[in-house]
């Protein structure tokens, strides 16, 4: 019922019995793949501490002696370039993804909770409608959304990217599963007898019990919006509205005409992945529990 913790102490005692050969093989496999997963990120870190000249002339995976001053130079160059448009992009991404995921989580979890805890006519129909939304690719919606937004003159605005991002059918699905298993009916009944109204019960009682699921929904929707590319690509023309992915894409596509952009693309790529890595690492113990709930059923 509650989310399992990510360690299992009772298994440690078995480790003495394992043959040394399988243990070495397992460590070898994991070691090799650690290199595979981390070398590209390491390369990005090292490259963001190099000058334009050093990028092609020094070994790519080793820091140069002047790495730290170069890194500071690169960062300040990045944020100064083109009137600080990069900072604007980062803030846009934080706004699209942060506000969008927050609002989306509240809306999806209310709906999932109601689908789990209230019997009403058409409940299964609503749930199936939402589930079919999980199976419809979001990018297939990008073009029709563009056509509709251009009918009402809202393309190339903040809303064109923000509003469609709020909807998360998968969030509803996860919230329903989690609410069904972690919010006991007796507790809701007790809150009702206490005179708490339904909406307040949800926000004060149910959300606490659903916390791991809510963090999971928030984080994964945050990532989905942060990584979204097609919708902003098709909706936005004005660079001051770009999220950071689209901004870096536009710089990267212009390297041919403007080679100095290459170092900004690299340092910008490095800076833009830091917030997500920090968010995931620091919230790990919450979302890993919520993740389990979605897949057990």
């Amino acid at each position: 019922m509650s989310a399992p913790s990510l360690t299992r102490s009772s298994k440690a005692k078995g480790s003495q019995r394992e043959p040394i050969l399988s243990r070495s093989a397992a460590m070898l496999i994991m070691g090799v793949f650690t290199l595979y997963f981390l070398i590209p990120i390491w390369w990005l870190l090292v490259s963001s501490t190099k000058t334009q000249g050093q990028f092609t002339t020094t070994p790519a995976l080793i820091f140069t002696p002047d790495a730290i001053p170069n890194f500071i130079d690169n960062i300040s160059g990045l944020f100064a370039y083109n009137d600080g448009v990069f900072l604007k992009w980062i803030l846009n991404s934080v706004l699209y993804a942060g506000a969008g995921a927050l609002l989306g989580t509240v809306i999806a979890s209310m709906c999932g909770y109601a689908l789990a805890k209230y019997g009403f006519r058409g409940r299964e129909a609503v749930f199936n409608l939402v589930l079919s939304g999980v199976l419809v690719p979001a990018t297939a919606l990008a073009l029709p959304l563009f056509l509709i937004f251009s009918q009402v003159g809202l393309t190339n605005t903040f809303w064109a990217v923000f509003l469609p991002s709020i909807v998360s059918p998968f969030g509803v699905y996860l919230a329903r599963i989690y609410a069904a298993s972690s919010v006991p009916d007796e507790l809701l009944e007790a809150a009702r007898l206490d005179g708490s109204n339904e909406v307040r019960t949800f926000f004060t009682v149910a959300t606490r019990l659903m916390a791991p699921a809510l963090v999971t929904i928030f984080l994964f929707q945050f990532v989905a919006i942060w990584n979204n590319f097609f919708l902003p690509l098709i909706m936005l023309r004005d660079p001051s509205l770009f999220p950071v992915t689209l901004g870096l894409y536009s710089w990267n596509s212009a390297i041919g005409q403007n080679p100095e952009l290459r170092s900004f693309v690299i340092i910008g790529a490095f800076v833009s992945i830091i917030p997500l890595i920090i968010a995931f690492l620091s919230l790990q113990r919450f979302w890993s529990g919520g993740l389990a709930a979605g897949s057990i059923k």
């Binding site: 298994k11 078995g14 916390a211 097609f230």
Partner: protein
């Protein structure tokens, strides 16, 4: 976190007498009001940004532009299945569909096989430093597709790569290999994510099952094959469905890599074809592409769920 809940429970449960007994009719009403508040916002947004766009795409796909002569004024008229006939004749589009299907047929099993292997190793007593491996393998998930494609674009490049001894001899960005170079990028980003979903499912299996199996003399291999894998099959199906959907949507990585590779044309994947067609602009044909793509994705993932005959979705 979870340990804190029982305290909440007791404080909420403290009974206050006399309330709610006579409130039965009002309760019905407040139930309905609460339902509207809970479900209304999501349904409204879902209607506006999912249902209506799909309907609009279908409507748009039945329109066609007619001109009087070559330079006459353009009028948009109902064109029946004109666009769909064009879709079925668009060999570029179907080539892109076949390309992503080939991609998915190889990349999805490889990725999920690796994810399952890592999850089983993390769940076995063979490893030390599990927490480190978990985080290291998951870190690429925090890298957006565009950024991952930029990074790997440099790493694949014959002149700029730190492994130029390899990349000068193997044309990762050439016409023959570029699809599989993209497959590598997608795998790099998503293996850790899928590994965690499967690993979470493994952790939810009660340990008593293993102990019983051990007493019966089952080896670690037997436990993995005959107990663990069957029990995490729902998680595998879930990750497979999402991977299939993701494959058909492929756009950010190939579009970004176009500045590194000339082998990726403007109709390399179905979504690139939609984007290119919409930029012409030929909205009606692009809408018809979108409808066909959404429908095939839906059918493919639905059929997959049916064929596997397990209920990944409750």
């Amino acid at each position: 976190m979870i340990g804190a809940f029982p305290m909440t429970v007791t404080s909420v449960r403290a009974p206050r007498h006399g309330l709610g007994v006579s409130a039965a009719p009002r309760k019905r009403l407040s139930h309905r009001k609460a339902l509207t508040i809970f479900i209304g916002p999501f349904l409204l947004l879902y209607l506006l940004f999912y249902v209506i766009p799909i309907g609009y795409a279908i409507y748009q796909s039945f329109l066609t532009v007619e001109r009087v002569g070559t330079f006459g004024p353009a009028t948009t008229v109902f064109g029946g299945f004109t666009q769909y006939i064009a879709v079925f004749q668009a060999s570029d589009f179907w080539a892109s569909v076949l390309r992503v299907l080939a991609f998915g047929a190889v990349q999805v099993p490889v990725m999920l096989g690796l994810a399952l292997l890592f999850a089983l190793l993390l769940d076995s007593p063979l490893l030390k430093g599990k927490k480190f491996f978990r985080l290291a393998f998951f870190a690429p998930y925090a890298v957006p597709g565009v950024i991952a494609a930029i990074m790997w674009g440099f790493l694949y490049s014959p002149s700029l790569s730190p492994f130029s001894a390899v990349t000068q001899n193997i044309p990762f960005l050439g016409a023959d290999l570029v699809l599989w170079s993209i497959a590598n990028i997608v795998t790099w980003v998503y293996v850790g994510y899928n590994m965690l979903i499967i690993y979470s499912a493994l952790l939810a299996i009660p340990t008593e099952i293993y102990e019983a199996a051990r007493i019966d003399g089952a080896s670690n291999w037997a436990i993995a094959w005959q107990i663990k894998i069957p029990l995490v099959t729902p998680a595998l199906i879930l990750t497979a469905v999402f991977s299939i959907i993701g494959t058909l949507q492929l756009l950010a990585e190939p579009q970004t890599l176009r500045s590194f590779s000339t082998a990726i044309n403007s109709t390399f994947t179905p979504n690139l074809a939609v984007y290119t067609t919409a930029s012409v602009p030929n909205y009606s044909l692009a809408a018809a592409f979108s409808v066909v793509l959404a429908l095939s994705t839906f059918v493919l993932s639905f059929v997959f769920l049916k064929v596997t005959q397990r209920r990944a979705f409750a």
